[in-house]
């Protein structure tokens, strides 16, 4: 029975089972005006801000990755290694963490290691949201129509590769440990122990990297999110609860750690190039 406005009246009884499991209602005429959006607030501002922020970081990171100099300050009695160059694995490093790559590597030693933190951030659930909205306009904002005619999301190459985020997380933990060691090493002043402004910069850097790494959604899943019955997995439940406290702030930690890693590198650059003097507290 068809009523007004295309509403179909269906009575489901045992005698007419063909009405059970009707197909999903597709098509139909949509209401409302045919416009991109009716929003009048400044919906574009967060996307423009994060788009500019990410672009500035990529420009800075590219410059610092290729500059291949002034990334380690050992000349002024300090032990500051830029996080962009840590661990330094090539023989052409000013300060070698371990000569894993050997002498054949002639390019900047930052390049082979930056693949891992770059991959971790590129596949991060927060950054995905940011670049899908800011650069791909998919969508430009909530309730604002996207310009693309078709959409397949993360079902095809290359975006399906975002599913390997957890592998980058495994490496991210290793990098967080290394950057923590760098913060400890920043207390080394020649043959004595001390603390300078740079030491503080390195400590904040390591702390923010840990907060970003531990608040990750993949971490939350691996720590305990995969468990259905928490009563039989007490330790994983404890970890899951702790990570769940950090997880809602993942965006904040993503930005803070991104900015601060740039600040740390630039500080090392300024000190190593002799542009500024690193003040020593004790």
């Amino acid at each position: 029975m068809i009523l007004r406005y295309g509403i179909k009246l269906v009575t489901v009884t045992k005698s007419n089972p063909e009405n059970v499991g009707t197909k999903v209602s597709l098509g139909g005429v949509r209401g409302g005006p045919d416009v991109k959006t009716l929003r009048k607030d400044i919906w574009w501002l967060p996307q423009v801000a994060s788009g500019i922020g990410l672009a500035l970081f990529v420009i800075y990171a590219t410059w610092t990755a290729f500059r291949n100099g002034n990334y380690y300050d050992g000349a002024h009695g300090r032990d500051y290694l830029s996080p962009f160059y840590s661990p330094c694995l090539a023989s052409n490093c000013t300060y070698k963490t371990a000569s894993v790559l050997g002498t054949w590597w002639k390019l900047s030693p930052a390049l082979p290691i930056l693949i891992f933190p770059a991959g971790f951030r590129a596949t991060c659930y927060y950054y995905r949201k940011a670049y899908y909205k800011s650069y791909w306009l998919s969508p430009p904002a909530c309730g604002v129509a996207e310009p693309h005619k078709t959409y397949s999301g993360e079902t095809k190459l290359p975006l399906i590769l975002n599913n390997i985020h957890r592998y980058f997380w495994y490496f991210a933990v290793v990098f967080a440990i290394i950057l923590t060691w760098d913060a400890v090493a920043a207390f080394r002043f020649g043959n004595s122990v001390g603390m300078g402004l740079g030491t503080l910069v390195f400590i904040v850097n390591a702390a923010l990297i840990w907060l970003y790494t531990l608040s990750c959604h993949a971490c939350r899943h691996l720590c305990g999110g995969h468990v259905d019955q928490f009563s039989k997995a007490k330790i994983r439940h404890w970890f899951w609860k702790k990570v769940s406290v950090l997880n809602p702030h993942h965006m904040l930690f993503a930005w803070l750690s991104l900015v601060w890693i740039g600040v740390t590198d630039f500080y090392v650059y300024l000190v190593a190039s002799g542009t500024i003097h690193d003040p020593r507290f004790f």
Binding site: Y5, G6, I7, G21, T22, K23, V24, S25, L26, G27, G28, V29, R30, G31, G32, P33, T37, L38, R39, K40, D41, Y125, R128, K129, Y132, K133, S138, P139, C142, G143, V144, A145, E146, H148, T150, Y151, S152, G153, E154, T155, L159, I160, N163, I164, H165, R166, H217, A218, R220, H221, G225, H226, D228, Q229, F230, S231, H237, N247, P248
Partner: protein, 256 residues
């Protein structure tokens, strides 16, 4: 108090237009109150779906100034003063008339969710659930099925063709609730990827933004489901661990 200017979409499947109403403002009103006053005084044939006026039935979903919201939970004094209040029907679903849309798509997708299949009872004939086992799913059961999340999701809002193979955020909340249930024995991950379009979600969090029940749809339902799919499909370590240490759940591959 100054008059309110309300721009309402009026029409049906044959077309429509904005009609502007000017009515006196009253203190403490929500948008649904204003719409009811328009219906009572200026447009008695205005179609609007509502029920509880308390943000619990999910009936009065609409788009207010371009944002999907419950009319009963949107206070007039929270909207920009001196500007017209623009009210339109949900964009993602077919129009019936004025502010009423046909949301049956969501119920049809709900029918396809493989149901709860509990494991056998314990020796004393009971099921045992501890607080920590039930608390995670409580959030999901707050859903009032207003379908604002479905409406704002660009996967179907901007691409009608995706409705054939995309369940949408509300349904992912339901899937997450079932998948995380300690008693349930079904495994819906293959179904989620192959027929329910979990991979289409690009985690823009619009669903979370509009949820009137403040369910963390993306963080607590969709991303955990995506990670469970990674366990199943893209992580050989997790796959190996599952083979060695755990019995697999029954794989539910077909939508009903």
């Amino acid at each position: 108090m100054a008059d309110l200017v309300v721009r309402l979409w009026r029409g049906d499947e044959n077309g429509g237009e904005f009609i502007e109403f000017k009515i006196p403002a009253q203190e403490g009103e929500v948008v649904l109150d204003v719409v009811h006053r328009i219906q009572a005084t200026l447009a008695p044939d205005l179609a609007v779906r509502w029920n509880c006026k308390a943000g619990k039935c999910g009936s009065c979903s609409a788009e207010i100034n371009g944002r999907p919201r419950l009319m009963c939970m949107t206070r007039v004094n929270q909207l920009p003063e001196g500007e017209p209040i623009v009210i339109t029907p949900l964009k993602t679903f077919p129009i019936i008339r004025d502010l009423v849309t046909d949301v049956s798509f969501n119920f049809e997708m709900l029918k396809k969710v493989p149901g709860f299949k509990p494991k056998p009872r314990e020796a004393d004939g009971t099921y045992r659930m501890y607080t920590e086992d039930v608390e995670r799913g409580q959030e999901f059961r707050k859903c009032i099925e207003c379908f604002l999340c479905q409406d704002v999701c660009h996967v179907i809002r901007d691409h009608e063709e995706n409705k054939e193979h995309y369940a949408g955020p509300r349904l992912f909340v339901r899937y997450a609730d079932l998948e995380m249930n300690p008693l349930d024995t079904n495994d819906r991950r293959q179904l989620l990827v192959e027929k329910m379009g979990l991979g289409y979600c690009n985690i823009t969090k619009c669903c979370t933004e509009v949820c009137p029940e403040h369910i963390h749809i993306t963080d607590n339902a969709i991303i955990p489901l995506k990670e469970r799919v990674v366990d199943d499909r893209y992580d050989p370590i997790a796959w190996l661990g599952k083979k060695i240490f755990r019995k697999s759940k029954k794989v539910e591959t077909d939508a009903k």
